[in-house]
């Protein structure tokens, strides 16, 4: 669905993208993770047609972005809503621009209202809504026309648990229906919940790509044993289970509790960032 090849984009002396390549298949969720300034938003802006790359190639469903705008749904990082306009009016605007009419528009709006828990605030102006409600409204405007490609740029930034869960559920459902999703976030556990493949961006290029198990294969986890005298033992290991069994068989002290930590996505990101930098 989305193919980006060797994209570059400079802002003055800053290389926002520097040979960025990424492909996303229909129905796939790709979590794009990286530090602030790594190039995530620049990539989203290029794909959505806000800015143009300096060089490189990009294709959405076999067509250039300019010919594919109706097939893309975008949730930018910042909120972009009309404060004096209601939630329903927002959805009607973006739905109509995308070509939805009458029954199809009404049904799409009602479906999203339920999915994103907007039903009770549909006729309220967005200027008086909470941050989480505004986030859900913004996401709904990106989804109303059932795009083939979803670009979600930190959609849950600052959102509460209810908002986050509602969004993740909808994103999962859309991906199951065949939508390709690019999901940028700093909340890495969200990617686990989405069962997303992960693309790590650093310095404007992808430095690692794969699913969690592949990327975390060589990362150490941790085993922690707590003894009855309240002292503990922590061991860093790439095989936590085997190490735990080994430790338990060898110790002659009384163990009161055992903790087994597999490497987290945060560990993964830190590891990749360090290895790439070195």
């Amino acid at each position: 669905m989305l193919e980006a090849l060797e994209l570059t984009k400079r802002y003055g002396s800053v290389n926002a993208l520097d040979g960025f390549s990424l492909s996303v298949a229909a129905g796939e969720i790709v979590g794009l993770v990286g530090h602030n300034g790594a190039g995530k938003t620049t990539f989203v802006e290029i794909v959505s047609g806000l800015i143009r790359q300096d060089s490189g190639y990009i294709s959405i469903g076999g067509k250039p972005p300019a010919l594919s705008r109706g097939r893309i749904g975008v949730t930018p990082q910042h909120l972009g809503l009309y404060p004096s306009i209601t939630v329903r009016e927002h959805l009607e605007l973006f739905g109509r621009i995308a070509g939805l009419r009458r029954a199809a528009l009404t049904s799409a709006i009602e479906e999203l209202a339920v999915a994103l828990r907007l039903t009770e605030i549909m006729d309220r102006r967005t200027g008086v809504l909470s941050g989480g409600q505004q986030r859900r409204t913004q996401t709904a405007t990106a989804l109303v026309h059932r795009p083939s490609l979803l670009l979600l740029d930190e959609p849950t930034a600052g959102a509460d648990l209810e908002t986050r869960q509602a969004m993740l559920d909808v994103v999962k459902q859309r991906a199951a229906d065949g939508t390709a999703v690019v999901y940028t976030t700093h909340y890495l556990p969200e990617l686990t919940e989405l069962d997303a493949s992960i693309a790590v961006i650093r310095g404007g290029r992808i430095i690692a790509r794969g699913n969690y198990d592949e990327l975390a294969a060589d990362l150490p986890g941790e085993v922690r044993l707590v003894f009855d005298d309240e002292q503990d033992l922590r061991v860093s290991t790439t095989e936590p289970t085997a190490t735990l069994i080994d430790l338990l068989s060898k110790t002659d002290r009384n163990v009161t509790s055992v903790e087994l930590h597999n490497p987290s996505l945060d560990d993964l990101y830190r590891s990749l960032a360090v290895s790439n930098a070195s």
């Binding site: 294709s59 605007l93 070509g99 790439n276």
Partner: protein
């Protein structure tokens, strides 16, 4: 898989080169385009309806001033009643540039303009949909002031309604286009306010909207020709007097101004602002 930094092997894909042009998106036929324009126009009409204060003041203020200033104008120049109506109509319609400019500039503040740019709507559709309701309001503003001039101030009934309508439409178009262009260069609502308010005072005064040209010094009369207000005033007076030639020449000047400003606005709005932000 950790990717080696220098290069990434990627399977050949169906890709498209950057050709440096902003290719028009495939957005269906004229009906689809009109549908999108109607959606954006409807949306902006709702926004305007919920915040009508600015336009009310630009209708009420000239009405009051016409009444107050009419005796002075009638004493100072012949045709003083037409002068006071057309002069204040021109001046306050120029003030209304701020409405057009504001309506676009706030979209940049709300960061909604980029959201529209990411949608299926083209830049021209967005600009037309955005400005259509304001165009209608500007036409209404001027029409109300002309009718008020006839019924309350006592100017003669126009000999040709069509000429007056043409004058109003052309003037509203050029004001709207200039307002849209200004909204793309202003960095804040305050800056836009200064440009539109001071600009309105200077251009309409230079053009003879406030003080009749006939009592201005020679250099001021010569300088008036660079002001759009001058052509608007000439056009409105000629329209009320039923002078077709007198309407068409300034109308052509104003239409050209509007076309240039409108083209610039479409180009600038389509290009966006990237990472540069407003004040």
């Amino acid at each position: 898989m950790l990717l080696d930094a220098p290069g990434v092997e990627t399977a050949p894909v169906d890709v498209h080169p950057v050709d440096g042009s902003d290719q028009p998106a495939s957005r269906g036929g004229i009906r689809d385009s009109l549908y999108r324009i109607a959606a954006i126009a409807r949306h902006n009409l709702i926004i305007r309806r919920r915040d009508p204060g600015q336009m009310i003041s630009y209708v009420a203020m000239p009405m009051i001033l016409m009444l107050v200033l009419k005796p002075i104008y009638v004493r100072v120049v012949s045709g003083g009643d037409v002068q006071v109506v057309t002069g204040l109509l021109v001046m306050f319609s120029v003030f209304a540039i701020a409405i057009a400019g504001n309506s676009i500039l706030v979209e940049r503040h709300w960061m909604t303009w980029d959201r529209l740019r990411q949608s299926r709507a083209s830049a021209a559709e967005m600009l037309i949909g955005k400005t259509l309701p304001i165009f209608v309001l500007m036409v209404l503003q001027q029409a109300i002031l002309v009718i008020y001039g006839c019924l309350v101030i006592g100017i003669p009934m126009p000999r040709s309604i069509a000429l007056v309508a043409l004058g109003i439409v052309v003037w509203a178009f050029s004001l709207l286009a200039v307002g849209a262009a200004l909204s793309t260069v202003a960095r804040s609502l305050g800056e836009l306010g200064v440009i539109s308010d001071v600009g309105a005072m200077v251009l309409s005064s230079m053009g003879g909207a406030l003080v009749p040209l006939s009592i201005m010094p020679g250099w001021a009369q010569a300088a008036a020709h660079v002001s759009p207000g001058y052509y608007a005033l000439r056009m409105m007076k000629a329209a009320i007097n039923g002078d077709t030639t007198g309407v068409l020449i300034p109308a052509a000047v104003l239409f050209t101004l509007g076309a240039v400003a409108g083209t610039y606005a479409v180009w600038r709005l389509a290009k966006g602002w990237g990472r540069t932000r407003l004040l």
